[in-house]
Amino acid sequence: MRVMHLTIPTYTALLDGTLPETEARELGSHLEAGCEVCERWLAERPTADRLDGDVDLALGALSASNAGANAGAGNDLEFARITRALAAVATPSALRRRWAGGLAVAAALAVAGVAVLVQRGAGPDRWDGTKGAVAQAVPLRLRFLVLQDGPGPVPGIEKGVSGQAVPAEASLQFQVELGREADVVLARAAGGSAEPFFHARLPAGRTVVSVSGQPAAYPLAQLTGPQRFLALAGEQPIEPADVDRAARGSAAGAGPGQPISLDVIEVQVR
């Protein structure tokens, strides 16, 4: 019998069900015997295909019962983010506002009454949101670090995950990721209203919220229970009404003005 290693035409024909039966029998025996060349070929496939999907489903089922019922479970905030992304694609842009001076708003920002500056992150990765989309909404992610004084001279820094519990002594350091340059507002949602604490025009990529060139942290002292923080981004200046609407829980992108991206994180202050 001739050696029949996997090739793209053979592989594709097999998955499509068009490989002649005799060839399929030969190939089956060959693969069953443990061909390392074919195994390596499969390992080096540059993209995933339906075989990967089946294999991943089976491999995922292995640990589903061991890893705990909630391992990898979804949450409302993430699903809302997905829904917003879909809506942004489906809804034609309705740019009704006039460009009102653009960069004039860039410096208008405050954290508890204190003016802050922003610095652009130096990381190499620029998040570009959902690729291939025709949305007008700006791809946006709000991330945060939890800073907490420890025994040493350097504060503890932990990457924050939405939904996590944090002590009231901790502070949150926010980072904003944008698919393109945009006007950005950060706010805390409190009882159906919003308390904006940051407003600036930011470049594409990751930006760390900073004060005078130093990373700024939002103190959680005086707060208890669930706390929601919002990030809004739009190509044109964001109005206070947009922030209030977002804080009340309505979809920011569905407002009467420009498409506005919204991202939300929540922490439990204990």
Partner: protein, 202 residues
């Protein structure tokens, strides 16, 4: 009354969810998300280069892309494998972009992904048979680092590939390589089964 095997029942339910989601039923979207989110999350966590943010992004992008493409899915009962294919390609695209840092790599990866997500049909030798095969392959692995890694990631499932690298004190690339080698072994055996069935004229 004919009782369908659990895997077939699940797939029929999946098809119904897809049909409802295509009609714009938000509840069906949520049900699909809840049902497959853990599996999508596990795929993303298998990439040792990814931190928690990367994993979250891959999960989100996968569902956005999948929900947007539901209309193109010709076999709704295979929405699970289809979604996981999208997730793996999102992850690979992200890696390619990071490593190459170039738009060309991104474009190539995206083109390949579009092709992959539009593919229909699948190996599906027997619903649920892959799971048994995977269990057997793990038990057949010789004791050593690969089996330990595979067990920690695929069987216990509590740690990500990156966390396993930290725990075992080895490089991230070593963990990725071990997991990929095992996946290739599983793929080869599943493909052998597909070929055997095809050879029998089924």
């Amino acid at each position: 009354m004919v009782r369908l095997p659990p895997a077939m029942t699940e797939r029929r339910d999946d098809a119904m969810l897809v049909a409802a989601a295509r009609r714009g039923d938000a509840g069906a979207h949520r049900a699909l998300y809840d049902r497959f989110r853990p599996a999508v999350w596990r795929v993303a966590r298998g990439f040792a280069d990814f931190d928690a943010d990367d994993v979250d992004d891959v999960v989100q992008e996968s569902f956005v892309r999948a929900f947007r493409g539901l209309a193109k899915l010709k076999e709704p009962e295979r929405v699970g494998p289809w979604l996981l294919t999208i997730a793996r390609n999102r992850a690979l695209t992200r890696l390619a972009r990071r490593r190459a840092g170039g738009e060309l790599a991104e474009e190539l990866a995206r083109e390949a992904e579009v092709a992959a997500t539009e593919e229909q049909g699948g190996p599906d030798p027997e619903a649920g048979a892959e799971l048994e095969l995977v269990r057997r392959l793990i038990s057949e692995l010789p004791e050593g680092p690969e089996k330990e890694t595979v067990h920690l990631f695929y069987v216990e499932g509590a740690l990500s590939a990156r966390e396993i690298a930290d725990r075992l004190g080895v490089g991230k690339s070593a963990i990725t390589m071990r997991l990929e080698r095992f996946r290739a072994k599983v793929k080869r055996r599943v493909l052998a089964e597909v070929a055997r069935l095809r050879g029998e004229g089924s």
